[in-house]
């Protein structure tokens, strides 16, 4: 009997210890990383946007220039190998901002450079960016057509 109790206590202690050391479900951790990194990248974007606005640029021109700067940063840090390190933890936080779009262009283009500048760099740049542009533009076309028809 006492043997049984001792066994049970052992198991409980094990379970307690196990709960302490077992990895937490990664979903919550992933969400926090995505939120913080994605939010941080957008805050940098806001900073760049405000800088261009302070130069007296119009709203749209400033937004375009800020996008270009973010694209530059995304491709530069991908070239340095830093962006993909960040991406391992940040997940969607580094994929969804426009810097991730730049990353999706540079990473495969670099990887396939040995296949040459036409079928390597030139073609592989658009492995992900291509579909994004195609479906974005087709959707914009449909929205534009509906808008024109309803005028």
């Amino acid at each position: 009997m006492s043997e049984n109790i001792r066994q049970q206590m052992k198991e409980e202690a094990f379970q307690q210890k196990f709960n302490q050391v077992k990895p937490k479900p990664p979903l919550l951790k992933n969400i926090i990383w995505a939120f913080v990194v994605g939010g941080f990248i957008c805050t940098i974007g806001q900073f760049v946007l405000d800088y261009f606005l302070s130069l007296g640029m119009g709203k749209k021109e400033a937004a375009g220039s800020a996008t270009a700067v973010m694209v530059f940063l995304g491709s530069f840090f991908t070239g340095l190998g830093i962006y993909d390190e960040l991406g391992k933890r940040a997940g969607a936080g580094s994929i969804v901002p426009i810097t991730g779009f730049a990353n999706s262009i540079v990473a495969p283009a670099m990887e396939f450079k040995r296949e040459g500048y036409i079928f390597g760099v030139g073609a592989k740049m658009f492995v992900i960016a291509g579909p994004v542009l195609v479906y974005g533009m087709v959707t914009a076309f449909i929205v534009g057509l509906v808008y024109w028809l309803r005028q």
């Binding site: 957008c42 996008t67 190998g81 997940g91 969607a92 492995v127 929205v143």
Partner: protein, 117 residues
């Protein structure tokens, strides 16, 4: 200061939606990017994305749905100005800076750098 906090929160939340899609559905990052651009364009078309931009600033324009939004805003502007042919000119006119930067910087960095390891 409020603008930066709002950019952080709105941008962060859009990324969280992307993370949930990646973790809870079989969608790959490429699927999520395409889906986000399409959703941004559609929401913009029904007038729901502009309020998010007014609220979050760069927090709404820097994530990929903001790209879809820019495409549609440009299209609608050009339809207002030029009629039918504006459907063809607006999207790329409005997103020209981003697309040009993506291709030119993307190309330059791919040529300059080599993958690690």
């Amino acid at each position: 200061m409020t603008a930066y906090i709002m950019a952080f929160i709105v941008g962060g939340l859009i990324c969280v939606i992307g993370q949930l899609l990646m973790d809870l559905t079989p969608l790959t990052p490429a699927h999520v990017l395409v889906l986000f651009v399409v959703m941004g364009a559609l929401l913009s078309g029904i007038g729901l994305y502009q309020p998010l931009v007014d609220l979050g600033g760069a927090g709404a324009t820097i994530p990929l749905p903001g790209f879809g939004h820019a495409l549609v805003v440009g299209t609608i502007e050009d339809v207002d100005k030029y009629g039918f042919w504006g459907i063809f000119s607006g999207a790329l006119r409005a997103s020209a800076t981003g697309v040009m930067a993506a291709v030119v910087f993307g190309f330059a960095m791919s040529v300059l750098f080599n993958p690690k390891g």
